[in-house]
């Protein structure tokens, strides 16, 4: 039984076009699923729907999101928030804007433990120290008392990772957790997330542009185009033989680690047109 | 169907027309006061003191809004009071605008020591409580319409100077100014031909707001009995009188207050409306 199970989820701009088209995907307990697709395909939108932070300008028009078997969309808002807060977490994209500039680091890690999960403050602080050590931050004691602007981008992302794992969530959504960082730091952070995930056995929904990264960290992946899942596969199978023409083209457009200098073929226009037609057909079939 | 945005625009439009309409009405009243006013605003009749307005028991026909303690007709005094209020608003507002905007433009565009001096003066001016400053100036200059106007100009030029300076500075940094200079325009020419048109909407909005402020300043000065020297009726003077007898004759205070309130509101709503419509800067 998968921990996160999204079924036929449709989201649209209020009074506007659909942004997600009957999206279904599963993340099993302890599994890492990659979510790939071009910019604007709706990757982040899926993550936001799971975490209950969809923008006010969009609405869910159908489907369900089951977290540990419970359909989040059927819950009253307060109950839904608590449930998400207690069992899931987000590793955000931009560490520079994801920490509150006027609050100390310590409080930003322990707040969920104390306020939502009802831990004692002392225990939560001990946990925060332990986590900072685990994400390899020197002098955790001092850093807990720092303000965000006193730390580098890489440090802040480590803190956000620590904070995401603090409550031992069953599921973490990581939305392009390295794109805002220096190339040199990117690899370290990626390794850190993969290591933490393995150690804690957390299920991970990993949003990225980069199929190379997917091949390294994920066990399964969903390929998204215009808010529609065009392929859902095991990573091993996908890289051996992608089933959908669009994902095959996407794969061909990705540099290989074995031969980064090999010439790349952009996604051909014919493939784009075919997948667009597929989306249009699904829209007609789906909504009559 | 109306979408939200056009609803907002319609409301903004309505407020623009309503306030413009009220101010237009005042202009008409100011010009034709002697023909409109039912009574002589200065005529006293101690036997007709503190008559209530027409719908209250004890009212006299002919005194629609009642009389004050000296038996003068409240309505006629309000109508004549428009004259002082509007002349102060127009004259003081315009002169303040010209002085303040010119200084602000110079400080913001010419920069250097001009800016240094003008900015220092603005700082010093900001350290004076404006009401006290105006009262002090009237005390020094002696009461009278001229003194009031002068006092308003002396005190309020900073309102224009501050905003226009910042705005001219921002405009001066833009490319079109540099290219005008490259094309051979002199500093003064650039200031007048390139910068001024771009800050003009801001200036017009500030001018409208300033007129409302001028009306209030005049009322405040009349209230402390330091306004015009003659006994021509002013709203502030009526309010001062109404304040002392508010428990005996509320109408002496209420009617001039409502008129003043609406006029100040109209000027500021007109300014806000113009701002929404034309001014990308202040919005």
């Amino acid at each position: 039984m998968s921990f996160l199970s999204i079924r036929e989820l449709s989201v649209r701009l209020k009074g506007g076009p659909p942004l997600l088209r009957r999206v279904s995907l599963d993340v099993a307990a302890g599994e890492v699923r990659g979510l790939v697709g071009e910019s604007g395909a709706g990757k982040s939108m899926i993550g936001k729907a799971v975490l209950g932070i969809l923008p006010g300008s969009v609405e869910v028009t159908g489907g369900e999101i089951r977290l540990d078997g419970v359909d989040l969309l059927a819950l009253p808002p307060a109950e839904r928030r608590r449930r998400i807060g207690a069992t899931a977490a987000l590793i955000p994209q931009d560490p520079l804007t994801a920490l509150n500039p006027s609050r100390r680091i310590g409080g930003q890690i322990t707040d969920r433990l104390v306020d939502i999960l009802g831990w004692e403050r002392g225990r939560a602080e001990a946990r925060a120290r332990e986590l900072l050590a685990e994400v390899q931050i020197p002098e955790p004691e001092r850093v807990l008392r720092n303000y965000p602007h006193e730390l580098s981008g890489g440090m802040r992302q480590r803190i956000l990772i620590a904070s995401a794992f603090a409550a031992e969530p069953k599921l973490i959504v990581a939305d392009e957790p390295t794109t805002a960082l220096d190339v040199t730091v990117q690899k370290q952070i990626l390794k850190l997330i993969a290591g933490m995930q393995a150690r804690h056995g957390t299920a991970l929904l990993f949003v990225t542009h980069d199929l190379g990264v997917v091949s390294k960290v994920c066990q399964s992946l969903s390929v998204l185009y215009a808010g529609m899942v065009v392929e859902d596969a095991r990573v091993r199978d996908f890289f051996a033989a992608p089933k959908h023409a669009y994902s095959a083209a996407l794969l061909a457009a990705t540099p290989k680690y074995t031969d980064p200098m090999a010439s790349l073929t952009p996604v051909p226009d014919a493939v784009i047109e075919a997948v667009r037609a597929e989306v249009a057909a699904a829209d007609r079939g789906g909504h009559g | 169907m109306l979408d939200g945005r056009s609803m907002v625009r319609r409301r903004a439009g309505a407020r623009l027309w309503l306030s413009a309409g009220w101010l237009g009405l005042l202009c008409v009243i100011a010009v034709f006061a002697p023909w409109i006013a039912p009574k002589d605003p200065l005529a006293q009749d101690l036997f007709l003191g503190r008559l209530p307005p027409f719908w209250v028991a004890g009212a006299e026909p002919g005194y629609l809004l009642g009389t004050d303690s000296l038996g003068r007709d409240v309505l006629s005094r309000i109508l004549y009071g428009v004259r002082v209020a509007l002349s102060v608003a127009l004259v003081a507002g315009t002169i303040t605008c010209i002085v303040g905007a010119t200084l602000g433009l110079m400080a913001g565009f010419l920069r250097g020591w001009v800016d240094l001096v003008i900015s220092r003066f603005i700082d010093i001016w900001m350290a004076f409580p404006p009401v006290l400053f105006s009262i002090l100036l009237i005390a020094v200059l002696g009461p009278g319409l001229f003194s009031i106007i002068l006092a308003i100009v002396v005190i309020d030029w900073t309102r224009f100077a501050r905003v226009v300076r910042a705005e001219a500075m921002a405009q001066g940094a833009m490319d079109y100014v540099a290219s005008a200079r490259v094309a051979g325009r002199g500093r003064l020419g650039t200031m007048v031909r390139e910068i001024l048109p771009n800050v003009l909407p801001t200036i017009v909005v500030l001018l409208t707001l300033e007129m409302g402020i001028a009306v209030i300043v005049e009322a405040i000065l009349s209230f402390v009995n330091l306004s015009i020297a003659t006994d021509d009726p002013t709203w502030g003077g009526m309010i001062a009188e109404g304040r002392t007898s508010v428990h005996q004759a509320w109408w002496v205070l209420v009617f001039p207050l409502v008129t003043l309130f609406l006029t100040v509101l109209a000027f500021s709503q007109l300014g806000e409306g113009l701002k929404d419509r034309f001014d990308p800067v202040l919005r």
């Binding site: 006027s102 | 004076f128 404006p130 009237i138 100040v264 806000e272």
Partner: protein, 336 residues
């Protein structure tokens, strides 16, 4: 380090401003027609008396020298003698200062509370009719100055529903045990709640009149910056932790949204203090402003000078404090 530099720099500009104020006050008042010395003497004084007093005050010297003599006195706390009461100006002015300070601070507190509640409610209910209503109320409150709000309050709560006092600072028949002029504060310290209530009911209307425009500004500005802050990533992150709207507004957004509002509130607070002059007159409240208007009407030049300078010191002082507060609250500046 940074804080110290900000402080010193601001201290210098403040000093320059105050010197400018002193120069202007001095020369404006010297323009007044009439011989101030003659006014200071009882009727029937001889020419020799006038000459003697003129020499005593240095008025026979050239203007710049006169200014230096006067400024030297001011620096030592000698603001001269009031012409009407023949008492030292400093004592008179300081005697009235507490009344004005209490009124201003009470108005500030009311403005912050009213404006804060409006901003928080508007943010909480953004996009609804409640927010629309708050916007309209803010717009109205901003369009009309304190003087008119004072008159409206007099009519509403002094005449129509007479629940509050609309003149004076305290009911005259009451016996006052106070040693300072901070009545509001001292009545509280002495646990004289009967007096405290009487004083509050006198202050409430003038304070509210002063507070209305500032409350509107705070309401508008704070709401705007709260709404902007609510879209930021760290607020969204807090939502995923399980926090509800109220908590997110109060703990994540409020503190960061307050900073941009603060500087403007500082300037506006000086406008509020300036407003006490006419509001005190309107409500016959025995503070500095009321005294200032009497002084102007009586042409009591030394007293006017003293009051204007005191106001200027308060204005620049408030601006200084706000700037430092801003620096202190902003963690970026504090730790840099």
């Amino acid at each position: 380090m940074q804080l110290l530099r900000v402080f010193l720099l601001r201290l210098v500009t403040t000093a320059v401003t105050l010197v400018g104020v002193a120069v202007i006050v001095f020369f404006v008042i010297r323009v007044v027609p009439g011989n101030p010395i003659a006014m200071m003497l009882p009727p029937g004084a001889t020419e020799a008396d006038v000459a003697a007093l003129t020499a005593l005050y240095g008025l026979d010297k050239p203007l710049p020298a006169q200014f230096l003599i006067w400024a030297g006195g001011v620096l030592q706390g000698d603001f001269g003698t009031s012409i009407t009461t023949r008492q030292p100006v400093l004592g008179l002015v300081l005697g009235r200062l507490p009344a004005t300070l209490e009124l201003s601070v009470m108005a500030l507190v009311m403005a912050v509370v009213i404006g804060g509640v409006a901003a928080l409610t508007g943010t909480r209910r953004r996009g609804t009719r409640v927010e629309g209503a708050i916007d309209i109320a803010n717009g109205m409150a901003l369009s009309v100055p304190d003087f008119l709000w004072g008159l409206v309050l007099i009519l509403l709560f002094g005449v129509l529903v007479p629940v509050f006092h609309i003149s004076g600072r305290v009911t005259p028949s009451l016996e006052l045990p106070f040693t300072t002029n901070f009545y509001l504060f001292e009545s509280l310290i002495r646990l004289r709640f009967d007096l405290w209530l009487d004083i509050v009911s006198h202050m409430l209307m003038p304070a509210l009149a002063l507070a209305v425009p500032l409350a509107a500004i705070i309401g508008q500005l704070l709401k705007q910056s709260l709404k902007e802050t609510m879209h930021l990533d760290y607020v969204t992150l807090a939502r995923t932790k399980g926090y509800g709207e109220n908590h997110v507004i109060l703990r994540e957004a409020l503190r960061n949204a307050v900073l941009p509002t603060l500087t403007l509130v500082g300037v506006q607070f000086t406008f509020l203090i300036g407003g006490t002059v006419i509001i005190e007159r309107l409500f016959s409240y025995e503070g500095l402003g009321n005294m200032a208007i009497d002084a102007v009407i009586n042409r009591d030049l030394p007293l006017i000078q003293g009051i204007v300078i005191l106001f200027a010191v308060i204005f620049t002082g408030v601006n200084l404090i706000v700037d430092l507060l801003y620096a202190a609250l902003n963690p970026r500046l504090r730790h840099a």
